[in-house]
């Protein structure tokens, strides 16, 4: 059996980095431990967060476990976000918005397939900022929600319609593959 402290440390690191709630089953798979044992470790981690007066708490939410800021810290966070946090667009948000713009209407599953990671957190940002919206339902089984860009998105970009987005061909191959070609790296390198 792995040293408990090592697993606890890694467990916290994984939860720290993750952008989405992590199901117990995923964590069990990652650490190659029975689900029951993982739940017990998560319990220990949650207790420690409390006992040590930490600024983050471990919460069980729909879909799994996630680290979140302690509710008491909210006033400071609001002030910090309003004044200090550089209002920067994350790479993930820009990329997701770009895919929706060019491939709309598109479902979250299709988005995740293209990006290779779940886009739920990013989509929440884009939805709450009014850049994308629900535009319909997939006809197939499951009837997934389909998303598209908003009028506000077009306004921000100074476009009349999405047809005015430049053809992608102009922007391909991307910078890195051009660089690979210029520097002579073959495929797989």
């Amino acid at each position: 059996m792995k040293a408990e402290d090592d697993v606890l440390r890694a467990l916290e690191a994984v939860l720290f980095i993750a952008d989405e709630p992590l199901p117990t089953a995923d964590l069990a798979l990652l650490f190659e431990l029975p689900a029951g044992e993982v739940e017990a470790l998560l319990g220990i981690l949650a207790d420690r967060c409390q006992a040590h007066g930490r600024g983050v708490v471990l919460r069980r939410v729909a879909g799994g476990w996630r680290l979140a800021t302690h509710p008491d810290t909210a006033p400071y966070l609001e002030r910090f976000v309003g004044e200090h946090r550089a209002g920067r667009l994350t790479q993930a948000a820009l990329e997701t918005l770009a895919i929706v713009a060019y491939r709309q209407p598109i479902s979250r599953i299709q988005l995740a397939e293209i990006r290779g990671v779940s886009c739920d957190a990013v989509m929440r940002t884009l939805l709450s900022r009014g850049m994308v919206k629900e535009v319909g339902r997939d006809q197939g089984p499951g009837q997934a929600i389909l998303y598209g860009t908003t009028t506000y998105f077009l306004e921000r970009l100074g476009l009349d319609s999405v047809d005015q987005l430049p053809p992608l061909a102009e922007f391909m191959p991307d910078a890195e593959s051009v660089e690979r070609m210029e520097s002579g790296l073959g495929p797989g390198l």
Partner: protein, 247 residues
């Protein structure tokens, strides 16, 4: 004696020259221009399309190398003539660039090691918690159409490094020696021609070789080259076949 250089990656003429002169007891006189050219072409032709800028920066260096090489072969004069002096200044300038470039190359290696060392630390790059989003400044204030298109191209474009398909290209089979012969053949027939006409039917990499071939022929006094001003037409006049055994 000719030295072969093994290039894994062509990183530009300065890098090539650095690799050449950093080797033990190699000097310019020993460097076969055709070897360098062949290595360059081998390294770049695998890429499919040769970038014109890469090709021209290579040409400038090859020409300098050729000049230095000819200087090395000249008997030492007691009083250097102005041309020689200029060439020596050029050499010092090239040395200066090589030293600087070599420093940055070593610094890059250190950077890479430091990146590896720092790779174990990961910071959070998560979106803001939902309840805080309304508090945050407008993250889209600098967004542009080009940014969106570039991001989409990155996400929707080929996943891995594209496999360069060279099947549609004529494999580059011509060496500098062959090109010297080909240029001699064409010139002995035409006697006088513009460089553009001489290689009108050649592909870009072959044009590079043909230009080097002409420099070789010029060195062997087989041709005369005229150009009234930079970027103007280069006129090539045939004089005599190159002596046998010339590169």
């Amino acid at each position: 004696m000719a030295y072969a250089v093994k290039l894994d990656v062509y990183e530009g003429p300065l890098d090539l020259l650095l690799q050449l002169v950093s080797k033990e007891r190699v000097d310019v006189a020993d460097i076969s221009i055709s070897t360098v050219t062949d290595e360059y072409l081998k390294a770049t032709s695998a890429l499919g399309e040769v970038d014109l800028e890469t090709a021209s920066s290579f040409l400038v260096l090859a020409a300098t190398l050729l000049e230095l090489k000819s200087l090395k072969l000249l008997p030492q004069k007691s009083a250097p003539d102005p041309d020689l002096k200029m060439l020596l200044e050029e050499r010092d300038w090239l040395l200066h660039r090589l030293v600087a470039y070599s420093s940055f190359k070593a610094a890059a290696t250190r950077l890479s090691e430091e990146f590896d060392r720092g790779a174990g630390y990961h910071s959070r790059e998560a979106e803001l918690p939902e309840e805080l989003i309304p508090e945050a400044p407008d993250i889209f204030r600098n967004i542009s159409v080009g940014q969106i298109a570039a991001a989409a191209a990155r996400a929707l474009g080929p996943r891995q490094a594209p496999t360069v398909n060279t099947s549609h290209l004529t494999p580059l089979t011509v060496s500098l020696d062959q090109m010297v012969r080909e240029m001699s053949r064409r010139l002995s027939r035409a006697s006088r021609s513009s460089f553009r006409d001489l290689c009108a039917d050649l592909q870009k990499p072959e044009v590079v070789v043909s230009f080097l071939a002409l420099l070789e022929l010029y060195r062997a006094e087989s041709v005369e080259l005229e150009q009234s001003q930079p970027f103007d037409t280069i006129t090539v006049t045939w004089r005599q076949p190159p002596p046998r055994g010339s590169q």
